[in-house]
């Protein structure tokens, strides 16, 4: 398969692939997946795909618990992880006004989400620390709607 890029054999932990074939079951994709809960639908690509990602919330060993946040994607240049920008308003009581502030968040994005670009809105859920700065995992992507400019699309 094309997903065996690394030096070690990539497989889902805990799924036995080499059971003795008695009948026709060998053709089917012997894949494990789960529902993350909280009403999030597990994407079709997660169930039918062939990718192996131990940090994927649907096919890997992470559970989603704690905060659920949303944000806008500002960078997808990292391998399987994205940076999200969350904007908020901070109130200054002296002047009775607000000021804009933002925080960036690193989140792991499963290969189940394909065709995700900068500018899309994304829902992320908290999970255990996956790396030095990543504690969130992408659960849902809402693509950016470009009004009117339906003909121009980046190649």
């Amino acid at each position: 398969m094309s997903e065996q890029i690394e030096k070690a054999f990539q497989k889902q932990q805990g799924i036995f692939q080499n059971a003795k074939v008695a009948g026709k079951k060998s053709v089917k994709n012997n894949r494990w997946y789960k529902e993350v809960g909280l009403g999030f639908k597990t994407p079709k690509e997660a169930i039918e795909g062939h990718y192996i990602d131990k940090k994927c919330p649907f096919t890997g060993d992470v559970s989603i618990r704690g905060r659920i946040l949303t944000g806008e994607i500002i960078s997808t240049k990292m391998k399987r992880t994205i940076i999200i920008r969350r904007e908020y308003l901070h109130f200054i009581s002296k002047y009775n006004r607000y000021e804009k502030r933002h925080k960036n968040l690193a989140a792991h994005m499963s290969p189940a989400f394909i065709g995700v670009q900068q500018g899309d809105s994304v829902t992320v859920g908290q999970c255990r620390p996956l790396s030095k700065t990543v504690r969130f995992n992408v659960l849902k992507v809402q693509k950016k709607v470009v009004k009117g400019a339906k003909n121009f699309a980046k190649f």
Partner: protein, 204 residues
């Protein structure tokens, strides 16, 4: 020594250098790696947090390996370390770590197979005289046992890749335990796609 596992010595996510404001704590400690080698069994016991123990295997020569598709496990001698995805140095020095590919002695599995299915495995083809079938295959059995064995024969087919390995007397296996933590080198025999993957890696 002073190996610590804290993150206070690392730069923060923004790149800022964090000032040191406290000494290293005991709960952040790290210990020297085991670097388990092949050889006569030598295991050191370590007292860990909470009074619990870890068994640091310094040298190991055998482990409990499972043949997944047949659902059996046997204690076998580990012959050599053959491949390590992380570091070639570990292969050169013969270090046992989790997910290292090793060669194990095939005899306990061959003995089980011949007793369970009463058919030879790993028969060498074209090497002159046919090998004398082992006593296990031809021994006298009761009627009931004979019938049981006949009913099993339908499932007795083994993958040709495994068959080759049995002929050579050495099987490829993958370590699934952590010898420096549990003191054991247990694992599973490689089969199917995984076996094909690693054989390809070894050929290069």
């Amino acid at each position: 020594m002073g190996i610590s596992r804290d993150s206070r010595h690392k730069r923060s996510a923004s790149g800022a250098k964090r000032a040191q404001y406290r000494k290293k704590r005991k709960f952040e400690l790290g210990r020297q790696a085991a670097n388990t080698k092949l050889g006569a069994k030598r295991i050191h016991e370590v007292r860990t947090r909470g009074g619990n123990r870890k068994f640091r295997a310094m040298r190991l020569d055998a482990g409990n390996f499972s043949w997944g598709s047949e659902a059996i496990s046997r204690k076998t001698r580990i012959v050599a370390v053959v491949y390590n995805a992380s570091n070639n140095e570990l292969v050169r020095t013969g270090t046992l770590v989790k997910n290292a590919i090793v060669q194990i002695d095939a005899t306990p599995f061959r003995q089980w197979y011949e007793a369970h299915y009463a058919t030879p495995i790993g028969a060498r083809k074209g090497k002159g005289a046919v090998k004398v079938e082992s006593e296990e295959i031809n021994k006298a059995r009761s009627n009931h046992v004979q019938r049981k064995i006949e009913s099993r024969k339908a499932d007795a087919k083994v993958d040709p890749a495994l068959d080759h390995q049995f002929a050579a007397g050495r099987l490829y296996a993958c370590l699934s335990s952590r010898p420096g933590q549990s003191g054991r080198a247990d694992g599973y025999i490689l089969e199917g796609q995984e076996l094909a993957f690693y054989i390809r890696k070894l050929k290069k």
